[in-house]
Subunit: 410 residues, 4 copies
């Protein structure tokens, strides 16, 4: 066991930190205000990206801080999941910063899917512009009318029609749907009723300008639309695409989804850790500067113990995620399911708890938009539901635990 | 000990419930959407009340469901704090519904202050229009530059200048500041540096159109402005008002504040209980109708236990608040300080916990604006800071506990 | 609503407090040491009561502080469940003190059963000596081989045999089984397999000297036997008793058990509240006298907040129990099932939490037998399992909650 | 980063597991019963070791599973703290099992102290018999009259008297004090009042048969004496020993204590993890076999979620400890203080929580001595106080966190 980072990781960490300090933290306040303003624009079709974002992305690309998440040496940085983890943490310190490095969800997951399972044509057509950061993409899984945390509930149908595929159904919470550069969605559909529940689904690439694709509305979380990306409801009304838009094959949807979600959960979780570190740091600084009852807040009541609890929670969560990443890299996602479910529960819960504490230390400022805490809190709250609510993952963890007992592994 | 409601309470409970069912619940969705739209209007001076609100207020007034909070028999309903408590709970089930019955903060607290401590002129000029629901009022206590949870930190100065008073300083989180009908604020100022810390403050009525009153901005909590009421930052730049605007006397501010906050905290807390009941009810209904893994959510994992925990927490909080109200009524607020601080901590924490659980049961819908849960959550989160963060109240509770020991009461 | 105690309660409270202060607290240390010594005697048949106990019991009886739990005016104190509650709290401050007032479980429950359902002969034979404190009794419900929290699992059989009843089966955790004065047990048996699960059980009085009654061993909780009462395993090997020993009738066992457990849970819960108050008080005193890092513990870290949390928890639990008692008195136990289950969960959990905190404040002394904390902790831990583990009660609470929804009560 | 065990660790893990399965688990029940019986012997001087223990120790020694904790290649196994950690976890699955491998506290800490700081004479005289398992030793730090968690409170005096040292003061919770083979104690004394608080203490070897050493009593935790080791109160009445008994030098006590506690806390913490794994495993097995309400407990209410939570907590704690061990090995204990304090808090808290849950799943059996759960629980509860209560460690963690901020490390 060796807890040192690889030299490759160490190098990227230093460069990414410098970039964040030089270019992202100074931009944060202005960027967040811009986003808040966008959020107040009722017509999402008018949403815009902050104009400076393109400069930052170009700079990041020129410094080699680009597509860091992709394990491929040619198209990405060639980092393992474990090597990438600390970079995700650093990006997580500023809400949305991952986008500057082309490392934001759901594009990352979609790029991984296309990289691993895409045909040459699909790669050329959809992966390359994504890798260059020219377009944005959507991933459509969750449905409004069913508890889609249980994949067997999914109702959006895919019907094979000769050389075409017809998609019919409703999706919501589709991230990036409102983005001015969004071009296509990868849609998870029910394509059959095989006894093997892992063979019932398929994934299809649906360009957003296909006839029948109807974007109904953007959805807010805690009143925020996450403009200009947005999370939205989209109806697929008998949408017809060529069979070439199918990913891998009929019935492969579940397998692709599993592979897609593993590293994605590591990314999400490490960003949570980064955000939690930031929230703790803000809380500590505030507590050292602000006085009440003749003392800095740091010396009042249980405040210092809250910081100690946060330190212990953060360090444990980070290690759990790194261990999960290591397992994914070494044993494959299918042998790290319990670990991946565990981090999905632990990390957002951590972020919500630490941010809640930091808010309390900040008083009224803590729940205003003057600080990044509200953004972190909403991110955490949403992540406890996204990719399956925590309870579904607790269920999976316990089922895998029961299996170990049945196999006599204890 | 008798846990029955008084017959007076029972009558009001029945009538208020009927009014809520007939007029408020059916209006809730439309009202909330209207408020969300108002929130997206950047220029707060354009904020409007929903036009139907006036009709509802007139109807409530005509049915005698008006100013229920005021213990005076002539001007209000003549209910004790304890008798009013269940009515606050019922109103709390719909965000902002208290306004329909002229029972919303901070107007209620201001009316109580004017009722108890106002001069005849002050009553005529400011209390009567408030009681009629014609105008709105603001309460300005918290300050941006200090931890104002410790009243001795308050910096806004009041200087006596012959027949005038000059107020200078900055306040924020002043509720109602953005309301189109807001006419004045009661401002808590430092008026001296007496050794007795309870004699250092005074309260003054400052009409919002007085020269020097500068409304800087509206503040959002979790991105929401609570339009059209708003919570804002206001600067008092050498604002001059006649001495007749002083409440009670120089040095009486602390005493008034204590009296003001007691019943107010009962109201806030019981509204939290009402909102928590609503959230629990929504969660249970959802859990009985929504299926995953072949079962209703109600039968999955620990969901049913979460409902049981919520039931126990809600029932305990309600009883604690009722007991505090009873103590205020029987022994006076100065003998119920520990109880009042306790409910200030318990009730918002309860609401946040139960709402968080209900969100989780609802999946994505839970954090959207399709349901009242987000509103409840933000209400709870803000209340954990408003009127002094929880930690200040825990501090007070423990200090009163130490005192009992020093007095040999154990 | 009126939170004042009745004058009857108030009088008893004053007298009981005086008795505790004058006679029980001064005796506590010696008594507990004696009990610890008894616990180390391997042969439970040699267990003895502390000789001074008889004096105290005589004194309590002479002062009218006797059988306070029994609502009957002639045989007991004629107090309602609610009126008795604060007395149970006061007794709860010293482990086992209830015994001094003939108010200890399971004798209290057994006396209530005999009082309500016993025949004249049964009352004369068994109730009278219990009321006089001359004998002790046992209640045998839990079984070693099944999860007896689900009554339908109970296996001990009762077979009707003409004028006799034959009992066959195993019970454990039968309290008082080791007591030198224990004379009989009330045994819950399966007497049929009626479709109505509430008609499958019966209760029988089994004198402990009946042939076939085999006391196998005393059971320890956390290594303690609770000598000289003991909790034990007893086998009923084809035990034959006359039909006159049957309580009420065949199939009435479930109904009797429900009635028995209601007030009993109020007693247990209020004793927990009393013990929690004591633990909090000990913690606060210690924190004011003991120094570390140049300050009394009271001023270190989160200690004072822990006291505030305990105060809030204790006050809420007490009110919840009082409300449950009031419901039992007013509406009958069958209409207070949710409340009774709630206090069964809340009170022992409270006691465990507060005691755990108090231990921590006391350092090593806290987990030694120099203080009553260990006793309280074990009491709490055991109560979380006794009369059905908490989880069974959470289950019941949620099921009653679902029912309200199905009935449209929300 | 590489989470694999070293091959050396892997080999020891396999051999230790086999030994536990073949020799320790089968012996556990009998051993525990023997210990419980010893606990009931009032005169601790009659306490005995289980006769089979010697056989097991001889067997362990012959298989090279001996002194595994000692990093020295000649005298111990030559394992790093990190390499030893998983072995401590395995031993932790059975209460006291570490003793079989000569790896039990406080002998391990004393051996480390003697190994690192002992003179040749001290090593020959005291270290060698300890390494051979022939004698037992005591460590005396905590004092009855002060909060000894703050070392500056320590009152036991060491006075230099020419070629002798005189020790005077009281200690308690001195582990092993009642053991029939206990021969000496290492006593932490105040030897001066230097301004540098880290130079005020010294450590001395005091043979237990020195005149003036007075063993007052054995202390119980939760009524258990932990026979035949015992934790006791000992008075040093003007005890005179030759200066050769001094460890390292006057004023070196604090430094030695720090070095002693680091690896010791890793050992304690990993044993907690092992015990927690065992408790979880017992709970899961029980839940799969026991039925209530027509289902195995595993499928009732929130039980399965409790297992998932335990899995997440255990995995996080283990990683945190391994990381702390790695830091101790790589950077030295003085650079791992925050990590060491963190595991001191996290691991016993984890064990208490998981054991409490496992007890609940087992019903009455869970709190009896039929299962190892009570032992684990008491171990956890005591460890939350031993080596400084958790609160002292939270304090240290937050102070180190503040320092990072003052140094601008964030």
């Amino acid at each position: 066991m060796d807890f040192n980072h690889t030299s490759k990781s160490t190098d990227y960490i230093a460069r990414l930190r410098a970039f964040m300090n030089d270019h992202v933290f100074p931009f944060e306040r202005e960027w967040m205000d811009f986003i808040m303003d966008q959020n107040e624009i009722k017509d999402w079709k008018s949403w815009k990206e902050h104009p400076h974002l393109e400069n930052l992305k170009a700079k990041a690309k020129s410094e080699g801080l680009w597509n860091l998440f992709l394990p491929d040496h040619t198209l990405g940085a060639g980092l393992s999941t474990l090597e990438y983890a600390p970079l995700a943490e650093i990006m997580g310190q500023v809400y949305n910063a991952a986008e500057i490095f082309n490392c934001n969800a759901p594009d990352t997951g979609n790029m991984e899917v296309l990289f691993h399972y895409g045909s040459e044509w699909q790669k050329e057509k959809w992966l390359m512009p994504l890798l260059e950061g020219k377009i944005k993409s959507v991933f459509s899984m969750t449905e409004p009318q069913v508890a889609s945390s249980d994949a067997s509930n999914i109702e959006t149908e895919l019907i094979e029609d000769g050389e075409h595929l017809i998609i019919h159904g409703k999706k919501w919470w589709s991230t990036n749907l409102g983005h001015p550069r969004a071009r296509f969605s990868i849609v998870l559909c029910r394509s059959g009723n095989e006894i093997d529940k892992r063979r019932q689904h398929s994934m299809v690439i649906v360009p957003l300008d296909t006839p029948g694709v109807e974007i109904k509305r953007m959805q807010s979380t805690f009143g925020m639309y996450d403009a200009p990306s947005g999370h939205g409801e989209v109806h697929f009304n008998q949408v017809k695409v060529p069979r070439t838009h199918l990913l891998k094959g009929i019935g492969e949807g579940y397998a692709i989804a599993q592979g897609r979600l593993g590293p994605g959960r590591v990314h999400h979780s490490m960003r949570c850790v980064g955000a939690a570190e930031r929230a703790l740091s803000l809380a500590i600084k505030r507590s050292m500067m602000r006085n009440a009852f003749g003392k800095p807040l740091a010396k009042l009541g249980g405040n210092s113990e809250r910081f100690a609890e946060a330190r212990m929670d953060i360090d444990q969560a980070r290690l759990l995620i790194q261990n999960a990443a290591w397992k994914i890299d070494k044993l494959g996602i299918e042998n790290a399911l319990q670990e991946v479910s565990a981090i999905k529960v632990v990390a957002p819960r951590l972020l919500q708890k630490v941010t809640d504490m930091a808010m309390q230390i900040h008083g009224g400022a803590g729940i205003s938009n003057d600080l990044p805490l509200v953004g972190f809190f909403v991110q955490a709250r949403a992540l406890r539901l996204a990719d399956g609510p925590d309870e579904v993952h607790l269920r999976r963890i316990s089922r895998l635990e029961f299996k170990k007992h049945l196999k006599g592994l204890y």
